[in-house]
Subunit: 314 residues, 2 copies
């Protein structure tokens, strides 16, 4: 089983000793190593009937690689603790492995090791390592009044896709009936199944002098709340500054939802959000969406998000 | 919840950025990092009715720290993906955390980060990092004919303790009735609940020139089989060379078992087994138990262990 998995996993340049020993050995040329871990459970973080094994692998890898990028680091390797049911088809495991492999390949990382055990449900314990290349780690606590807040990557796409899947048969009918823009809806569903984090923007933001950064996993408002709290500042977002992606707009049209809700509260796209000192010339991949001021909390339309969620907030 | 956990976790010198950000930052002064991961599941790897949460934490940490030591490295940090049921008592979680903390402290490591999620059963995804201090990693494939095979740490203790627990009420009766040597039996049960890997012997063996090393997690015969296969050699063990620990002998007396079975096939004590070139002066903590010769497999009494297990083998 283990040999079957490792046989599908080519090793990248940073892996000095891959699977098969008590531990792997990974290059850490910087003299420090960035490390992040997540536990993903079938039924809670993914569903085998909603996502292919390949997409589950890509998404599980992406989530952890994005955490490493959000520190300003370049991901180097993953190690994976894998729990699998005895009756899991071997093909499912092969495709899961391929998903991990291919998402790692996007950033030049690889799966350096792991552990396989029997479990009644599929469990993925994923740990990502990364190298800062001599840069300071970009934490959450460096945002200062006067800094701008910018995002790179997609917002609301995965949430729109999840809402389409959850709405179920009706939406599927609309999709199957060829309701336009069909391509945009499918793109939203695909975004739920497989995020495309802007990995390279992490080290790039660090080089540009980002004062705080994180990856948007729980929704922009909630995640920027972490930055505001850690930095002791208020973040004011400008709703008009957000570009609503076509898939988000299309799904909102079908489901009668405010697309900005997904943009501001939808997680799982693993966009990067960062604060930069005023005057930093940001590349086009970073969109300024707000600013840092004295105070606390995250404000939209001049009001703080209420505890009752979006409806209550509006 | 996360704050409650991290509040119990002091950070060691190697942790440059601890819990609370997208990722942790750990020193890797060697320019390389040793990394090992394991997934531990309630019901499969531990039972809440057989082990205290504190012991579960210590054992889960020990298992991974021992993997790092078995490469010849000094453990620096753990990261933990934690799945917990909604109704898990907070006290259970506190004690689990303390177990992780205290086992890390044995080697000067600490818990640098983690992830908490809801799960129907307790799931522990544990990843350990370590530093080689400029030494070459001790792999499994360097044993050569003429080398000696030695072990450091306990063998068969955890297996004896597990057998006592599994035997259940009768043994408990014997224990409660004060059957002697009671202390030795309790020590066996304690060894099942909490291994004491000889962590420092890992880097020490590497410095002494160990040609191959691993930690004994599945039983000495099986694990040395990995060394024999990876190195392309035969390992001949001398049964008379093993010291049977008092707890193992006492449990074997109660249960009418051959204690050498536990010594040679019992896992979970996380002893270290290594090959050394002939002529290396080994410290008393390492006991020579066999030798490396041309051929394949692992032989005891001049015979290879059969697939039918110990009984079949004898």
């Amino acid at each position: 089983m283990v040999n079957r998995i490792t046989g599908r996993l080519p090793q990248g340049a940073a892996v000095m000793l891959g699977p098969g020993d008590d531990a792997a050995l990974v290059a850490a040329p910087d003299g420090r190593v960035v490390v992040s871990t997540d536990l993903l459970l079938e039924g809670r973080h993914f569903r085998r009937d909603w996502s292919s094994p390949y997409d589950v692998g890509r998404k599980a890898a992406a989530q952890n690689l994005a955490d490493v990028a959000a520190m300003g680091a370049t991901p180097t390797a993953l190690v994976i603790g894998l729990g699998i049911p005895a009756d899991l088809p071997v093909k499912w495991l092969d495709e899961l492995t391929d998903g991990f492999r291919d998402e790692c390949a996007v950033v030049g990382a690889s799966v350096a090791g792991g552990d396989v055990t029997r479990c009644d449900l599929v469990v993925l314990g994923v740990t990502a390592l990364g190298d800062l290349g001599g840069r300071a780690a970009v934490r959450r606590d460096g945002a200062r009044p006067g800094h701008v807040v910018a995002v790179a990557g997609r917002l609301g796409h995965a949430a729109a896709g999840w809402a389409l899947l959850e709405a179920g048969a009706d939406t599927r009918g609309a999709l199957e009936a060829g309701v336009e823009p069909r391509g945009a809806l499918e793109e939203a569903v695909a975004a739920h199944r497989r995020p495309c984090p802007p990995y390279l923007e992490g080290p790039r933001a660090a080089e540009l002098g980002a004062s705080a950064m994180l990856d948007v996993s729980d929704g922009l408002l909630q995640d920027l709340g972490h930055v505001a709290r850690a930095s002791g500042v208020r973040i004011e977002l400008d709703p008009a500054a957000f570009t609503v992606g076509e898939p988000v707009a299309a799904a909102a049209g079908i489901l009668g939802t405010d697309p900005l809700e997904w943009v501001l509260t939808g997680g799982e796209d693993h966009a990067l959000a960062a604060a930069f000192p005023a005057g930093v010339r940001l590349p086009a991949s970073w969109q300024v969406v707000g600013r840092v001021v004295e105070g606390d909390g995250v404000l939209v339309y001049g009001r703080e998000m209420g505890r009752g969620g979006w409806d209550h907030f509006r």
